[in-house]
Structures are given as C-alpha cells and as structure tokens.
Amino acid sequence: MLEVSELHVSYGGTVRALQGISLDVPDRKVVAVLGSNGAGKSTLLRTVSATLRLHRGAVVSGTITYDGKSLAGLDAARTVRLGIVQVPEGRRIFGRLTVEENLRAGGLGAADKRSRSGSKDRVFDLFPILAERRKQRAALLSGGEQQMLAIGRALMASPKLIILDEPSLGLAPKIVGQIGRILQTINADGTSVLLVEQNAVMALGIADTAYVLDVGRVSLSGSAQELAASDDVKHLYLGHAATTSTGARTDVARDESLRPKATLSRWQG
C-alpha cells in the first residue's frame, strides 16, 4: 500500500539525509526499519507524513505512493485523512492537556468524524490505564503510559497505516514487550504498521519484512526471519550494539542494561 522509491531528501539543501531509499509496506503487514542514530529513519517518516518542511527539509527526487497515488504535494493534514498516521519519536504527547483531550486532539484529523467515539472505546480497550487516567494531565503519566497515549492518540484518527518512530526509546524491557504485543493486536485488527526502531529484538519479533538503513541508504532488506539470522544484523543490533555505537548516541536507550535481552522466540508466539 505504501511504496517509497528512490527517495532522496536533504535538509537546507546541503545535508543529504536520504540517498535513494526504496521500500514497500504491503497491506496489513508489519514492516520494520532498523538503523542506528542518524541513519535517516526519522527523515523517512517525516517525508511520508509531510512534516519535512517543518525541519527545513525537502525531497530532492524520488516518489512515495499510497494505494497507487502519489503523496507528493500533500500536506500533513491530507496525509492523515488518507489514513497514514505517525506516532512521533519521543512520544510528543500534549503534556498540558488531559489524557482525554490528547485523544480528542488525535481524532481531529480523522477522515470520518463519526468514527471517533468508536475509536475512543477501542483505545480504552487496548490501554485500560488511559481510561483510568482520562482526566489527568498527560505530563503526569509515566514514560510507558505516555507512549501508550501517543499510540492511542494516533489510533483516534482510524489509521489504515500507522507509522511509529522508535516507540521503545527509553522504556523498560517489560514495557517494550507490552508495546510490541499491542502493535501486533493493532495489526491483527487490519492496520498496516511501519515500525522504525533501534531495538531490533522487538522490531524483528513482530515484523514481516525489515530494512536496515545505513547513513541514508538501505543496506539490507528481507524477511524479518532472514534479517534476524543474518550475521550483520546480529552483530549490529542484537546484543552487540554498544560496541558499534561509536559514541554517536548517548541517551539511555542505548544503555545495554535497558535493552531487552530477550531472544526472538519470545516474539514469535
């Protein structure tokens, strides 16, 4: 349903963040995009969601199509109304708004306004904690709860394709597991998932296919199983991350102790 072809993107006309990326998100599948910091993952998602301009970035060449139609020239609001909704990196919930108001904000871009109350019931089903905290200011939620709110907020627009930018960032392993299972449920309900992650264990555990980005290019792609078994991925992302991060990243998510040590089999049940 989403096809990215030979995409080149630059920031401020100089920084070439993407240098010819092609990838495919088939209908009702989960696609993972792996890559270390600065690989261009967020840039890819910004391009799909039409928020590049807010970062002074621009598409140099290449195409993105959704159900065969080009997304070029559409603004963020149009993209959401087509059914593509992003959960941004760092959660970006509205901290001063209540949980319920955050969900309401998520529903403002829904193509079908009547579906909102149904969406809210579904979000509260998926995340009972959000129903409990509905009147609280979102800033008071824990990190894991905020991520759930960010996902719930995106679901309020009834996406056909949900794209997530590093949802496991900074979360405890147990919560990461929970997020992974919820993404599987969302996918099972008929929503395609494009999942950008540095946490390859979680991502490959739930994905059908996966791509590895390396400084603006796709360096590897294939089925999630193939990639999980490949030496490169094992070396780079499954347990050896600390040795290859070369200090590019300093936040806690890269901290070995916070990364899930679970094996892939945990995700394939």
């Binding site: 970006r92 509205f94 904000a105």
Partner: protein, 294 residues
C-alpha cells in the same frame, strides 16, 4: 469609603476592557507566536466602522458591522502577511505588525481629522444609583459584556474542537500537524477572535465618561499590552488577571491623583506594574515563556 468602592468598580470596569484586549494579544501569540502590535489600530478601526455604520442603522447592527470589519481585517493580515511569511522569524513578523499598525493608524488619522466621534452606544451618559454610589451605566455594561465574552471564550477554549486544536498546536506544533490538525484554520480563527474582542472593547473604551473615539484610543488600548505580558503572554487566564490588575491600579492612582516624576502616575502605572512583576517572574504570573522569546 464610597469613593473607594467607586474607584474599585471603575477599576474593574476598565480592567475588564483591558482583559478583552489583552486576551486578543494572548490568543494571537499562542496561535502564531507573533506579538500583534497592530491590535491597537485594529481597535480604532472597529470603533470607526461601528460609528460610520451607526449613521445608517441602530447601534447593535452597527456594532456587528464593526466587529465583522475588524475580524475580516485581522483575517486578511493573517492570511496575506503572517501566513505567507510562515517560517520567517517571529520577531520579524512582530515588526511587520508594527508596520501594519502604522499604516492603519495613518489612514484612520486622515479619516478622523481632528474629530472626536461618539460611537453611539445605547448607554449614553446615564447613571446607575446604588445607595450612595452613582456609576455610569456604560461601566456596568462593560463588566457584564466582558464577563459574558470571557466566559464564552473560556468555554470554547476548553471544550470546543477549536480550543483543543489551539492548545495542542500551541504546545507542540509538529505533533499537532501529525494529528492532522490544520494550523492555518486555528490561527485564522485566533486572529478573527482577537479582532472581535478589539471591536467590542473599543465601545467601552470610548463610552461615557470618556470623551469619545479618536485615534488616541490606540494608545489606551496598548496599555493592555503590559496587562498581557504581566499575566503571561501565553496564558489566557493571565490576560484576565493582568487586565484587572492594570485597570485597578490605573483607576486607583488616577482617583487619588498620585503624582510620579512630576506627572500623573496613572499614565505610567501599567508599565510600572509590568516591570515589577517581570522582575519577580520573568515569564509573567501564569506564563510559561520568557519575554526574551518575544
């Protein structure tokens, strides 16, 4: 004591008018991060159009015409100038609004000449007698109208889709865009609401016992600017508190004829109060952003 109560009522009345104008500053700032220095001349424009329309129709329809003209002017400023320059530095945009202000006020001054217009409000110079007190009706009307408008605004801000979109966008513009919220519509509405508030405020700013409407109303309106800043330029509640504080301070110092540096303290009190508050709280009483960002 009567005198004191009289001054307090005057202060609240003046303060609620300042609150309306200050709210206009705040919502435009929240929506676009731009300080709209054209608010003062937009207010004079509203008064001018209402007055001229009143030559042909009763006061209330004339006021509606004045409101519509001001809101549409605000919308044009937003669409043509602010929107097309989106991505430009907010300081540059603020300076742009100074340019608009000068343009508007120059044209209005030409039209006014040396006239002082009466806006034709229904209260005229009638008084209300409460025990020993006698208060201009217009002053009580100002308080009533302000309470109604402010209540309506805060209800919309809290419960309407526009309010949710506005607050979400003010907090995180990019995340709001990712939710499909159209910023353009939110900001256009914010500018129009600011225009509406200005057009209503001018009625009370120039009603009895004020002498009437001339372009000097712009300077008086600009006293709502320190009100907005001391409340916190991004705080709607702060606009109301700031407006009342300035109104009361001004009424008291004028009423007791306090002098300062050889002049009337009432003329400078808005700025003094603002300075004192900013020394203690750089982002205003309820604000979250420091003025250095402006």
């Amino acid at each position: 004591m009567t005198r004191f109560i009289d001054l307090v009522l005057n202060g609240i009345s003046l303060g609620s008018v300042y609150a309306l104008i200050a709210l206009g500053f705040v919502i435009v700032f929240k929506a676009t991060e731009v300080v709209n220095f054209a608010q003062g001349s937009m207010l004079v424009l509203g008064g001018y159009v209402t007055t001229r329309a009143h030559d042909h129709m009763p006061f209330v329809p004339a006021l509606l015409v004045g409101i519509a003209a001001t809101a549409i002017t605000a919308l044009i400023i937003e669409r043509v100038l602010i929107r097309n320059a989106r991505g430009a530095d907010v300081n540059a945009l603020a300076i742009l609004t100074i340019g608009i202000d000068i343009l508007l006020i120059t044209e209005l001054t030409r039209r006014f000449g040396s006239d002082v217009l009466t806006i034709g409000d229904p209260w005229g110079n009638k008084l209300v007698h409460l025990g020993n007190l006698s208060l201009p009706q217009a002053r009580l009307a100002a308080i009533t109208v302000a309470v109604v408008l402010l209540t309506g605004f805060f209800a919309a801000f809290k419960y309407s889709s526009w309010g949710v979109a506005m607050r979400a966008g003010a907090e995180d513009n990019e995340a709001a865009a990712l939710m499909g919220i159209r910023r353009g519509r939110v900001t256009a509405t914010a500018w129009m609401v600011a225009g509406l508030l200005a057009a209503v405020a001018v009625v009370f700013l120039t009603a009895f016992p004020s002498p009437g409407l001339d372009t000097g109303a712009r300077e008086i309106a600009l006293r709502a600017f320190p009100a907005a800043i001391l409340g916190g330029l991004d705080s709607t509640g702060g606009a109301v508190v700031g407006g009342l504080a300035i109104g009361l301070a001004e009424a008291m110092t004028a009423g007791y004829s306090v002098t300062f540096l050889g002049g009337s303290l009432a003329d400078v009190i808005p700025y003094l109060v603002m300075l004192v508050i900013l020394l203690v709280r750089p982002s205003g009483i309820f604000g979250t952003r420091e003025l250095s960002r402006v």
